[in-house]
Symmetry: C2
Subunit: 415 residues, 2 copies
């Protein structure tokens, strides 16, 4: 596709300029973009109204319309996001390791930008500014493919950022938006391997699957979270309920929310009735095994499929287990390698769980909701990786970089 080829070439040319920018240059660009977004709020809102009206006429659900809609406050929050990135240290240029070899070669392992990053996302226009900010601060050019429903909003935001970079004498191809919304173009984008070093899908499980299946570019899978909490026989039961309610209901539709509970059978009779009551008050439906249904009368039967489901809804699956080993085995079978927790006062069980559960983030006595770039102290995040290659868990600025080896010699040849 010639159109994508052109975008790729422009991004490729831009990446060599971006990697030479100093941290000050980059912060100047981010500040200019933040100011321009606020100054041109009305232009963004006008574009967003177009998207909103089309989506509304097309019967988009209220929840999705809410994600699509921009307000002056939401535009201000986008700009604020860029300003927060200014405050974060630039990871590029860090000497990660140094070794002097016996033959006199001096090897530096130095952190460098990836080059060109592609982001494919759904109808959330705030991702446009957010992804630009994180990629730009790390010296990467970014090519964005947003959801068709937010096309006008994304175009306005991208244009404003590009204009503000240009005014600062920075190559505006630091951020480009794919405006052709044909599905074949998106698929071809996933194969633009010659120009794109890394592809990050941000969105639901369907989008991520499509990218994994079609991409020839290295992908980082993000954001699917079938997160578990296991309440051990040695848990502090008074503290267990607040943690579970927080993990399940503090924010329902997020990837680090708890979707499944495991409870040791020895405490089932003591614990489940109170837990059921607490979940009922929060309007959470319980789908459980036989023991669970005996203790929580309004619980419905859980199927095999329930244990593998990320509900993102007021539903939780629940199962009783006979040991920490059984809990670990169940979690490793059904989880999405995102975040899982044990509640226990037993140090040995805690260690067993920490070592045995195969997840990016494994918790003892805390809510799974902490799996988040801000909560980890990274200051920002591009997503939560659920794969094992390159980055796991919250991905901040560092995870958008790679490294290269710089080797200085004085005539060394290999014997």
């Amino acid at each position: 596709m010639e159109y994508l080829e052109q975008l790729g070439q422009k991004a490729s040319a831009a990446k060599y300029e971006l990697q030479k920018l100093t941290e000050e240059d980059k912060n100047r660009g981010l500040a200019a973009a933040a100011d321009a977004l606020v100054r041109q709020t009305e232009r963004i809102l006008a574009a967003n109204r177009e998207d909103y009206q089309t989506a509304q006429a097309g019967g988009m659900s209220a929840a999705l319309l809410d994600r699509l809609q921009l307000t002056p406050e939401r535009v201000a929050a986008m700009a604020e996001g860029l300003k927060q990135i200014i405050a974060l240290p630039d990871p590029v240029g860090e000497v990660m390791e140094h070794f002097d070899r016996p033959n006199g070669l001096h090897i530096d392992k130095v952190r460098v930008p990836m080059g060109v990053i592609g982001i494919i996302y759904e109808a959330r226009p705030n991702v446009t500014a957010d992804a630009f900010g994180l990629c730009f601060k790390t010296g990467n050019a970014v090519i964005l493919k947003g959801g068709r429903d937010a096309a006008h909003s994304n175009e306005a935001i991208t244009q404003i950022i590009r204009e503000s970079l240009l005014a600062e004498q920075i190559n505006p191809d630091a951020v480009q938006l794919i405006t052709d919304n044909d599905r074949a173009v998106t698929t071809a984008f996933m194969q633009l391997k010659q120009y794109v070093d890394l592809l990050i899908p941000r969105g639901g499980a369907g989008l991520i699957r499509a990218v994994v299946e079609n991409s020839t570019i290295p992908v980082i899978e993000t954001g699917t979270g079938n997160c578990h909490i296991y309440v051990d026989e040695d848990a502090d039961l008074d503290r267990a309920i607040p943690i579970i309610l927080n993990a399940k209901t503090q924010r329902i539709g997020v990837c680090n929310a708890c979707e499944s509970l495991l409870v040791h059978e020895r405490i089932a009779a003591r614990f489940l009735p109170a837990l059921g009551e607490a979940l009922r008050e929060k309007h959470v439906q319980v789908r459980g095994d036989e023991t669970v249904r005996r203790m929580i009368p309004d619980a419905v039967a859980a199927t095999e499929e329930d244990y593998g489901t990320e509900y993102l809804d007021y539903i939780v699956s629940m199962k009783t287990v006979g040991s920490v080993e059984e809990a670990i085995a169940h979690i490793n079978r059904y989880n999405t390698k995102h975040s899982d927790a044990i509640l226990t006062q037993n140090a040995e069980h805690a260690e067993q769980f920490l070592q045995g559960v195969d997840s990016a983030c494994v918790y003892v006595n805390a809510s799974t909701r902490f799996t988040d770039g801000f909560e980890f102290g990274f200051g920002a995040e591009i997503g939560i990786s659920t794969q094992k290659l390159h980055a796991r868990g919250p991905m901040g600025l560092r995870e958008l970089t790679t490294y290269k080896y710089l080797i200085r010699g004085d005539g060394q040849i290999r014997a």
Copy 2:
């Protein structure tokens, strides 16, 4: 495919056992495997003779037959390779970072095995032992798919290793070999995403392309090297020729061999005749631009395609350039992001080149042949990564691991 499903399930069961092994356990397993390989040399050689005779009858080239053939010395070298891995420190369990959060959460970033690694390789039976050793030391289960031409050799080696692990009470599914050589099985293996965390192809450009295009498992691309040496106007010309000869001819068929030379036009008249003479003595054909052909009369004309070719042969492409910038631009256009070098006494040019060239390993005044796990001090390598995700350049033990976050709290919930 039910066959692959079974292999996947066995590897998956084994990985949880392997990640619990101590370094001593793993070293014991490696030592047992090394001893068994030597003790059962005759069994391996008998299997290898079968492969060799079939391949010879099928008209395999002498070079490939040489790679396929095992001798008592080569079997001993395989065992020696495993013993060297024993001596390397186990990277698993390393606390890479620790942060205490203001809310009292204690976060450890800990190095852990990947889980299950798939290796697809060609008819080099030594890779079988080698890949097992590196994956086993890092607590990973490995599923191997070797070339059909080495099927009997690979099966004998794998069986011997499995028997030796079993005798040490270690799960032999630490290493499994796909013995069905149907191409459809190999393609299905590339999509065994549910069980395999990482796929590494080891072989020629065709194999690597096939894996990248078909795999849904995260892949690390290895080993394609169109490596450049740029001789700057400020190079020490006396030292330049030994470096170039080493990089080009010390070993012809390897990925870190030099395939293309760039020479600053200002030194062309002084340098090229002597370089041409030195290459002629080593029987290297030069394919160059007009200036090159004027200075090296037996050089033939280089085409656009030549500049993008990894010859792995006694051929080198050569081009004159007007500046270090032009050299960098040419290299970034044609290289495979493997290894590139500048020869110069000019510190500014050296820095420009180090920063500007987009390669895993960028050299000043040294041969590209040093891009190698042993030469870097890693002690061993599974391959040289030419992609940017996860690992770049020589991949040692650490690069076969990932990390997870262990988060210890005392009841924290998110506000």
